[in-house]
Symmetry: C2
Subunit: 455 residues, 2 copies
């Protein structure tokens, strides 16, 4: 009898160990496949070079939609479809020009319109400058000092923060709300220091929003080198003038699409696991790290499963969300349809932190489920992927999270991210093949294990 | 009495906790300083742009020696000096040219001479090609099949290895010994697949060695794209010809220098901690990641100490070693002088894995000491620096290790390293400021703690 128990115990142990080995081998095969196949990387190059500056609602984004749709159609998936989304349409026009004027000298600096900003009139805008670092400073100065002037928001991202995303968040309200705040005091326009950790001549754009009933004033971002120069000159010549012109414009909303490809689940086809990125991006870059890469990594998860004959139990969807950058309509519509059609969304993962070395996953889920997901870490340690942390998601899947779906983010090493983010520097050449594909393999592994172990 | 013990116990705890806080704060201040000061990064740019291709014994390297000597002289260090080193002198000449010849078609491919190789004669070398992947294959083919031919070593670095340095090591003997092995069977020359994980048109050079009494045949590296093309064409046209020409040359040995700057220790000035990189590099790159960066990071350790008023107990030396790439004479001479002068070398750290995101430190030391050093990990965790592993050092400090000094290596995230290594792609632009300076701060912190805690 005792011997029977011992044998039983050993058999269970053996079974567990074989099972773990099987998963380890599967994950190794995901990494091997990713690190030796260039399909996804080549597709990213094609997307970046043929459809750069994919601003929501633009012509470039229409071409990109057809392109990724075609890629997925040729993959022999179970279903590929588009989901209609109503999106805002804003055009950057010819960009923006600016100079600092001191008496007869004009010193050109690099600027770019902020997304959703109105343009200046044809003659541009020229005015004295008030430099501030936050909204408190603005309030203290008051209408008296600000009216008719250009407000220059010059609070840098904190370079001493190791997590550059936190540094971005810490400086972000200047860009998103700077114009709205400055308009309260009668400012004529705003110039915002680019949200980047690097010192260079690339201006970095991104969305801004006017107050609902506030007046609308033109807003541009200035490169960090330009911002430092302007600030330095202001201390010497406080009465200098700043000139900028832009012809960006808002148009009526237009129709666009989320693009979705899926492998049907073998056991629970009605349960959906979403893995996605967003297809829209900013001019004048190529939207490589942000977020062509996340789209291609999501498609690559499906390609790897097909290639290696992995049949997930649940339906796995690669979703290219539309309009993450401007009004997040794609993510909202995806969740709205999910609710409307009573879909069961089991889990979601978003890749929107750049295709750098994967570090781990941030996860938002109930505590018990979270603990089980954290236990997956052992499978990733051989790949140096060790950061499994509470709290995750992404702009596009957060609405699913609001409906109760556990959501997660692909966490990467973001030291270089803001050198490129929303600027002309976000090009395909900045994406390293190995880092990109380690990310794809990590995502394929994570989704595989979530599905396999019913987490 | 009991209360006294309790108070004593609490006082010790309090003291320990204050002490740990002090160290944590010091390390935070190292990172803050590194991430906000551009001195070292600007110096690296100057070095790369003014003294690229710093091959041992060359004119470029003489200029670089004077440059780093001058930088350290202006830092108000306690001592800056040069240490004479006899080094080999090999010149790459005009590089190398090559084409694949199929009947009347000539298809150009990118090649580069291997370091220490002889050149071809003026008319170049043209011959049939034998493709092999390792020395066993070579031996099986034998003199019959090889004599008079060009041997094409085409074993790729294994892309599925996550540690790219291991992949490099696994393919390295083709470059270092390929010519010597092929010469045994009467080969006319060798063409070696570039040691890189990327598929591109940059050929990657590096040192090779002839057998002591073997015959010397010219050797070049071919880009990975070129190697794939050659291999593909060979399957279709096994009788194709390969042509290459090179005018590289060996010259008599010459005098060069290690450059050394130091801060004298306050308590144990006779005990030396060395932190270094190597100043020599390969043409036609700028020796940015390999290893101008390691040199500048080592100097940056001293700059940070000076700036923050850190007075180490032991003498801390920044050493720019000479000739790591060819004959490792700088490291050997440094250790020889250490022995000759009976110097006490307490610890050494080498930075020669590229200035990527720091991951940790590899350390070679007796087990008891190692365990204490591993315990430093807690100070680095807030910076995502968590890999403290047994086994480390570097080509330049290994001779010190042979004398009994604990040695260590600055371990970085090397996914991108071999895209650049020993090629024209190793330029300043490939070095990211934050990754570079996080490395400097990590090195400053490590050395500081080793010294502080007498590890």
């Amino acid at each position: 009898m005792r011997l029977t128990i011992l044998f039983f115990f050993l058999a269970v142990l053996f079974h567990l160990s074989v099972a773990q080995n099987q998963e380890e081998n599967m994950i190794k095969s995901f990494f091997n496949e990713a690190l030796t196949d260039y399909t996804s990387y080549n597709n990213l190059e094609y997307l970046c070079k043929n459809y750069p500056g994919r601003i929501t609602g633009s012509e470039e984004v229409s071409g990109a939609i057809e392109y990724v749709f075609q890629i997925m159609q040729e993959m022999n998936l179970d279903k590929v479809f588009k989901q209609k989304v109503q999106v805002p349409r804003w055009e950057m026009g010819n960009g923006a020009k600016a100079y600092i004027k001191i008496r007869d000298d004009k010193i050109e600096v690099s600027v770019i319109p902020l997304g959703l900003s109105i343009g200046t009139n044809k003659n541009g805008l020229i005015s004295k400058v008030v430099e501030v670092h936050d909204f408190e400073e603005l309030e203290k100065l008051g209408r008296n000092k600000i009216e008719g002037k250009i407000v220059f928001f010059n609070r840098p991202m904190d370079p001493t923060l190791i997590n550059t995303f936190n540094a971005y968040s810490g400086a972000g309200n200047q860009r998103t709300q700077g114009a709205a705040e400055a308009a309260k005091y009668g400012a004529a326009g705003v110039v915002v220091r680019s949200l980047t950790t690097s010192l260079d001549d690339f201006p970095h754009t991104g969305v801004m929003r006017y107050a609902e009933n506030g007046s609308q004033i033109p807003a541009v971002a200035i490169s960090t080198n330009g911002a430092n120069l302007l600030s330095e000159l202001l201390t010497k010549e406080p009465a200098l003038d700043f000139y900028f012109e832009s012809d960006c414009k808002n148009f009526p909303e237009t129709t666009s699409y989320n693009i979705i490809g899926e492998i049907k689940g073998s056991e629970f086809p009605e349960e959906i696991i979403t893995v996605g990125g967003h297809l829209d991006a900013w001019e004048p870059g190529e939207g490589a790290h942000d977020d062509g890469a996340g789209c291609m990594q999501s498609i690559e998860v499906l390609r790897i499963y097909k290639k290696l004959g992995v049949q997930p139990k649940r339906t796995v969807r690669a979703v290219m969300f539309m309009d993450e950058e401007v009004a997040q309509r794609g993510g909202k519509e995806y969740a709205r349809q999910a609710k409307l059609n009573n879909e069961k969304h089991y889990f979601a993962l978003e890749a929107d932190e750049g295709a750098f070395r994967p570090l781990g996953f941030g996860i938002s889920a109930p505590d018990e489920r979270l603990a089980k997901i954290f236990a997956l870490k052992k499978y990733f340690e051989p790949y140096g992927i060790t950061q499994f942390t509470k709290g995750g998601g992404g702009v596009d899947i957060d609405p699913l999270g609001d409906l109760g779906t556990p959501i997660s983010s692909h966490v990467t090493e973001m030291q270089r991210y803001f050198d490129m983010h929303h600027s002309g520097n976000d090009t395909f050449e900045q994406v390293n093949f190995r880092e990109f594909q380690m990310g794809s393999a990590a995502m394929a592994s994570f989704i595989y294990l979530i599905d396999k172990f019913d987490l």
